[in-house]
């Protein structure tokens, strides 16, 4: 009796021995180690070697990285693609935090049809990005695409154009289509955050004679900070990893003339389509830079938002 008692107290909150625990964890650990961890660590090492086809050559220190910024075509393509990723992030952030937030606020006031609107706004988010991209490429087709048809029907003939054929508009199509697909997520997330704000705060402030805009700016908006942080991180990761929508709208070459090129496409092209003898070295350098950048900034945004939150409470 006393033996079991001491055992109990020593093990409060623990019911699995280390050995049993390991048996439980092992299947997941093996799968994760073989198909995620090992490739990830190996991929980083690839970028520090020179390659001939699939044969690894000498340790080349940072040569592959230098190539990216000094040799053509990479010298032009890397900044061009990176700029498009940034546009995508900024564009999607603006859309989600204006249209998305606006819709969430409007929905929050709504008594009926709330679920109905939520469902409709979320549907594009669930559809495959590739399908979304191809669908919009048909919608915007100069041949008999509905978008130009509508523009002409309402007398805006001047606006009707080959949206994806024109380098000046093509990237904005990518930005819009991406934002269109993603907006349901912030609507739901902001909706949940708005629902979590105690009504008493708002009531008290309104009794003090504040306007509703003041209350939104001073009370609602700051209390949304955690949700905005989540949306920012996910939007950042999504924008930097963008692949399927640009692929569907501009092909693997980022047509027209690299106007829809993004870093993931550049990585894919360099690794699998370029036929360059050092394709593995160069593409691994792109992957490593992108990897470090995405992880670094995501961690930074999370840290920054935590700090902002702590300041508020």
């Amino acid at each position: 009796m006393s033996a079991t008692n001491t055992r109990r107290s020593r093990h409060t909150g623990i019911t699995l021995s280390k050995r049993t625990g390991l048996v439980f964890v092992l299947p997941a650990l093996i799968l994760f180690a073989v198909f995620v961890l090992y490739p990830l660590l190996t991929a980083l090492s690839y970028s520090f070697f020179s390659w001939t086809g699939i044969v690894r050559g000498d340790f080349s220190v940072l040569d592959n990285y230098v190539t990216l910024f000094t040799k053509l075509p990479y010298r032009d393509q890397v900044p061009n693609a990176f700029f498009h990723n940034v546009l995508l992030f900024v564009g999607a952030m603006v859309f989600q935090n204006t249209v998305g937030l606006g819709l969430a606020v409007l929905l929050h006031r709504l008594k009926r049809f709330k679920r109905f609107f939520q469902t409709i706004f979320t549907l594009p988010y669930l559809v495959s990005p590739l399908v979304v991209g191809y669908l919009w490429s048909l919608m915007l087709s100069p041949l008999f695409g509905p978008v130009n048809f509508i523009l002409k029907a309402v007398g805006l003939d001047a606006l009707a154009q080959p949206w994806l054929g024109n380098p000046a508009t093509a990237i904005w199509v990518v930005v819009f289509v991406t934002a269109w697909q993603w907006v349901g997520f912030p609507v739901l997330l902001y909706g949940a955050a708005l629902g979590g704000i105690p009504q008493e705060i708002d009531e008290a402030a309104s009794l003090d004679g504040t306007t509703s805009w003041q209350r939104f700016r001073e009370i609602t908006f700051p209390l949304l900070t955690p949700a905005i942080g989540t949306v920012s991180v996910l939007t950042f990761i999504g924008a930097m990893e963008a692949f399927a929508i640009p692929y569907a709208l501009g092909g693997s070459q980022g047509s027209p003339a690299g106007a829809t090129d993004v870093l993931s496409l550049l990585f894919y092209r360099t690794a699998f389509e370029s036929g360059a003898s050092n394709a593995i070295g160069t593409s691994s350098a792109i992957a490593t830079l992108l990897f470090v950048f995405i992880f670094g900034v995501a961690v930074f945004i999370t840290w920054f938002m935590r700090k902002a939150e702590r300041k508020l409470y």
Partner: protein
């Protein structure tokens, strides 16, 4: 209730209708300009959100000639011939079956191994397990797809390129971070007394897990399954690189090929896109609750 439009605000009205959820006094006052604007805006965006998808479905029942003459017409004489063409001639049948096999198998795999691991994370307190859990969690933020080259060589050396098993194993592994994250937080909410009671009744660790805990985390299992199903079904990157044989294409890669071949056959293109979307719509209708609550998980704390 508050409004985002500063111009229309009249403080007197706002004080009276200050209780947002008990907005009945205000509602009784009838139709207000603010409400009308709000619902108009919601309907306008609803249209922007859904119109392309409705058009996709509606055009899949029309012929390409009809679309050329009136891009926005309704399928007044619906025809299923595009579906037949996409399904049989354009091999969508093969792609569809491959996608189903890969998605179902990989989601089951990642859910099964994650359930076991998550249980261990929730019921142990050693540094070793905390480290493994942190390792899994880091997978949520890492752009793991960038590790495709070594993965390709690994699978190639195992002779698994163009084999559906390669996708099943890779997606299975990729599902572990999200699945263990959700499941472990559910297991942690279950009171430890449950374990103690089961142990007193003579049940071992595995019996306790299968008989006592597993039934209790069913809602979490549903969430995990739904939320892994969508990205795996939709993924395009891995099959684009790991599958080189058309017979083993999943839907997304099949669609890229199909768009090259049927460029001007719009009716078939729309039918193909619709076919690739149907399972997601079915899933959404079956699990709207899980999807809406899952997307906002952690916000209701």
């Amino acid at each position: 209730m508050t409004s985002t439009t500063p111009v229309l605000t009249e403080p007197a009205i706002d004080i009276e209708s200050a209780g947002p959820s008990e907005g009945t006094p205000r509602r009784k006052r009838g139709f207000s300009l603010k409400d009308a604007t709000a619902s108009t805006l919601l309907w306008v965006y609803a249209l922007i959100s859904i119109a392309p998808l409705l058009l996709m479905v509606s055009n899949s029942f029309r012929t390409t000639q009809e679309m050329a003459s009136s891009p926005l017409g309704l399928p007044l004489a619906p025809t299923f011939s595009s579906y037949q063409k996409a399904w049989v001639t354009a091999s969508f049948e093969t792609y569809f079956v491959n996608s189903i096999v890969v998605t179902v198998a990989s989601v089951l795999l990642s859910t099964a191994v994650s359930l076991l691991a998550a249980y261990a994370f929730a019921r142990t307190k050693s540094k070793l397990f905390a480290t493994i859990e942190a390792l899994f969690l880091s997978g949520l933020m890492l752009p793991v797809y960038l590790a495709i080259l070594p993965l390709f060589f690994l699978l190639d050396s195992l002779g698994m390129i163009s084999n559906l098993w390669s996708l099943i194993l890779v997606y299975g592994a990729l599902g572990i971070p999200f699945s263990t994250f959700v499941l472990a937080s559910f297991f942690r909410q279950l009171p430890i007394e449950l374990d103690e009671a089961a142990r007193l009744d003579g049940a071992g660790a595995f019996t306790t897990f299968f008989r006592v805990h597993l039934p209790l985390v069913r809602p979490a299992i549903a969430t995990v399954i739904v939320f892994r199903f969508v990205p795996v079904w939709n993924d395009f990157f891995y099959p684009l690189i790991l599958i080189r044989d058309q017979k083993a294409y999943t839907l997304p890669v099949g669609i890229t090929r199909f768009f090259g071949e049927y460029q001007t056959d719009w009716a078939t293109l729309f039918a193909g896109l619709t076919l690739a979307t149907i399972p997601l719509v079915v899933l959404f209708l079956l699990a709207t609750k899980q999807i809406v609550s899952g997307l906002t998980a952690g916000m209701s704390k």
